[in-house]
Amino acid sequence: MAGGGSFDTFPRLLLRNAARFRARPAFRHKDLGIWQTWTWAQVAEIVRAYAAGLHRLGVQPGDKIAVVGSNRPKLYWTVMAAQALRAIPVPVYSDAIADELAFVLAHAEAKLVAAQDQEQVDKVLSVSDRVPHLETIVYDETRGLDDYDHGRLMAIGDVIEDGRAALAADAALGGRIDEFIRQGDGSDIAIILYTSGTTGASKGVVLSTRGCIDAATDTVKFDRLTHQDVVFAYLPLAWVGDHYLNYVQGLVAGFCMACPESGETIEQDRREIGPTFYFAPPRGFEAMLTRVMIRMEDAAPIKRRMFNYFLGIARRYGESILTGKPVPLSGRLLYLLGRLLVYEPLKNVLGLSRVRVAYTAGEAIGPELFAFYRSIGLNLKQLYGQTEAFLYVTCQPDGEIYSDTVGPAAPNVDLRIAESGEVQFRSPGMFVGYFKDQAKTAEAMTSDGYVKTGDAGFFDEKTGHLKIIDRAKDVGRLADGTMFAPKYLENKLKFFPNIKEAVVYGDSREFVCAMVNIDPVAVANWAERNNVAYGSYQELAGHPLVYDMVANDIDEVNRSLAKEKVLAGAQIRRFLILHKELDADDGELTRTQKVRRRFISDRYAPLVTALYNGSHEADISTEVTFEDGRKGAIAAQVKIHDLQVIGTAEALGKAA
């Protein structure tokens, strides 16, 4: 097991890995149908040449280098080369629309942009007049870029070649690169990660080299990660999760990062590479399960029965076997048979066979979903974190796993709940501040140096683990004073396979209402099996049978709410199904697919009004933005459905 130890900068870690793990794989990338591999020694050589090339292009310590694109080795090497020169890498979400990109590039004062392909280069060029510091653009994939003006445009491959040739010709250049690495210091800025902006404009979170490496050293030890592990780098490059779990932990532990061939081949590639450490947001695990279940619907009856029988066995014994609790011998034997016939083949299909540690975070995970993966023997755990902490605030240790908590404080993290109920922490990876924003930094910190997370939570009495309820500022009250935690309700709704997204209203209102997005995959499959004809998403969403189905789900939620004394008054009285999917391109979701509540209530104001004025239909017209920035409009008439409130007694009756 390797840790950060005395290596307090990334270029030094890279050199250490090149010496210690020489011929072990550092990067893999599927290209032209074949997994190409680079060893640590090769990567160190390439990054050195790349750094020399960038130096010759005029990159100086402290310059910002933006990285726009998906998970490609050359883009990760850009981050490494920048860090070698003591320049500051700034990754940007590859699906950011032009305005978002322009904002980040200008705010970060990016001098050089490394873009993945023609699409990203076009986007950067289209905003270049708004980015005064920008001098050079380098790119990975050359396709389609032959005819461009190469005055300030260069292929990354050429930069590396140029650097390599210059290093060979000029020994002093090598000395200068070594000098940069020697001067590097743990207090240097390692990277600036821009938050996805759940609440308005994104902020640049500045992280220090020492902090990043210390935090990762702790978690690498916590999960016993070694140079023999393999991760699958498919998460957005600009997201703290990818940077932490894959890049930083990879350098600290010396393991291999495998990059998928393209966004559409992720499932096949995951299966081929078989990662040992895996992260997916709850919706990722949910999508995986949905696909399995849909395929099982079409399987032969005997297979289906076997599948269902052994999933029952797994539900009964799986968790206990995984956490090492006592299980009767017959249960163990049946589970073993199940492993042979169902669980292992299933995990193999999903590409999870070799996973030793899997994490999920970002949203609450459905208890059934969580239990499913754990019961088939996947060591799935939860963590809670944020960019300002450089990811980990809490995480679940092996053997102490609960679906409704996020675990105790991560190693060396100091955690407390403020009077207001807000979760606050101090951690080794804690951010230095927001880039060029003293005021916001001060706002996010307490006077005694804790970071305010903005989340409301409490420590569970039984386990001592942290439980997160909602964003602190989102918890509200109904007109009659009943507590209203929107996220809590929305999560309950989203645990139903038919419901993909939900937004509930109720703060300072008489009662609670919901706007729902159906899950197109699950509902389309249901429609196919039940001979329901439809022409478009909009038509399917408005179908009376679909409304009935969703009404049943919501009744179920109301029934569970009726059992909880504090929340029984916050049952959902009316709902509607939205005519379009909420989309990040329209600003309705953040880039990490979280609902932007306030924006949505403005955009769909007529619908919200209709929910509360008793009408049964409402007209709405919304503007939509296509990926290339063009705009169109969707108009629809949306129906509103009333629900019966379930009394406490009735709920108890049903439950009995």
Partner: protein, 261 residues
């Protein structure tokens, strides 16, 4: 869009006429295709566009007239001769091996490039193996180029129409043709698929320098895409020139929009 570098003529059609019984599909049609250009043949339904394409690749033999391809003139040519000569095509109704994967279909496009004999191929040993690796490499480049990595191993019959069209284009590209004939590459596609396909056609022309002749009846697409456009109506060429010239031509407007009598 980059204009072709040379005025060298790749294909010359002189006075071609073709009839099926009493139907005169083509009447004395002449035009040429320059090396490196994107050449469109347009016209209303039944104008003789597909017949023209079938004459070019030897599927039909014209009653009169001559076809000169790469400097060689012939009246009768078999489709396989055309293929060997460097003419590849796609079809109006997708013609793929439905049960085979996208990858295998595109590999089939390499058939004419295979040098080793059948026995070597069956043994899959030594030079034959090396050759197959090389072919696979070329095919993978095409797969990367057309962005169909995710469907590499999927049987073609299970793919949506737009993707089948793309696989068919891939198979034609695998032949590394001098002249690529596309028969209504955008028929039955939605706007987004059309835009994707247009981009691929332009990229093929730019990247591989392939000369392309395409038939299309969506005027808007053709005008954005082509260097030169020939317009057929009832088997007669009624206009020929750059998109702008053709757009202003009164005969073309009449053919498309009808004439007030």
């Amino acid at each position: 869009m980059r204009a072709p570098d040379t005025n060298e003529i790749l294909l010359q059609i002189d006075g071609v006429a073709l009839s099926f019984g009493g139907v005169r599909a083509l009447r004395d049609v002449s035009f040429n295709i320059r090396k490196g250009e994107i050449r469109a043949i347009i016209g209303p339904n039944g104008a003789g566009k597909t017949s023209m394409l079938n004459v070019i690749n030897g599927f039909y033999h014209p009653d009169h007239g001559a076809i000169t391809f790469k400097g060689r003139t012939r009246t009768k040519m078999q489709p396989f001769e055309a293929a060997r000569g460097g003419i590849a095509r796609t079809f109006q109704n997708v013609a793929l091996f439905k049960g085979m994967s996208a990858l295998d279909n595109i590999m089939a496009g390499r058939t004419l490039k295979v040098r080793r004999g059948l026995l070597w191929q069956i043994l899959r040993y030594g030079p034959a193996l090396a050759e197959e690796v090389e072919h696979r490499h070329r095919v993978e480049e095409i797969i990367d180029f057309l962005e169909i990595e995710a469907i590499r191993k999927v049987p073609v019959a299970r793919l949506p129409y737009g993707l089948q069209k793309r696989v068919e284009l891939g198979r034609a590209l695998a032949m590394e043709p001098d002249l690529l004939l596309l028969d209504e590459p955008m028929a039955g596609m939605n706007l987004e698929e059309k835009e994707d396909m247009s981009r691929f056609i332009i990229d093929v022309n730019n990247h591989y320098g392939t000369t392309i002749a395409l038939i299309e009846h969506d005027m808007a697409v053709v005008m954005d895409l082509s260097h030169r456009v020939a317009v057929l109506d009832h088997g007669v060429k009624i206009a020929d020139g750059t998109p702008d010239e053709v757009k202003k031509n009164q005969a073309v407007l009449d053919a498309y929009l009808g004439v007030a009598h």
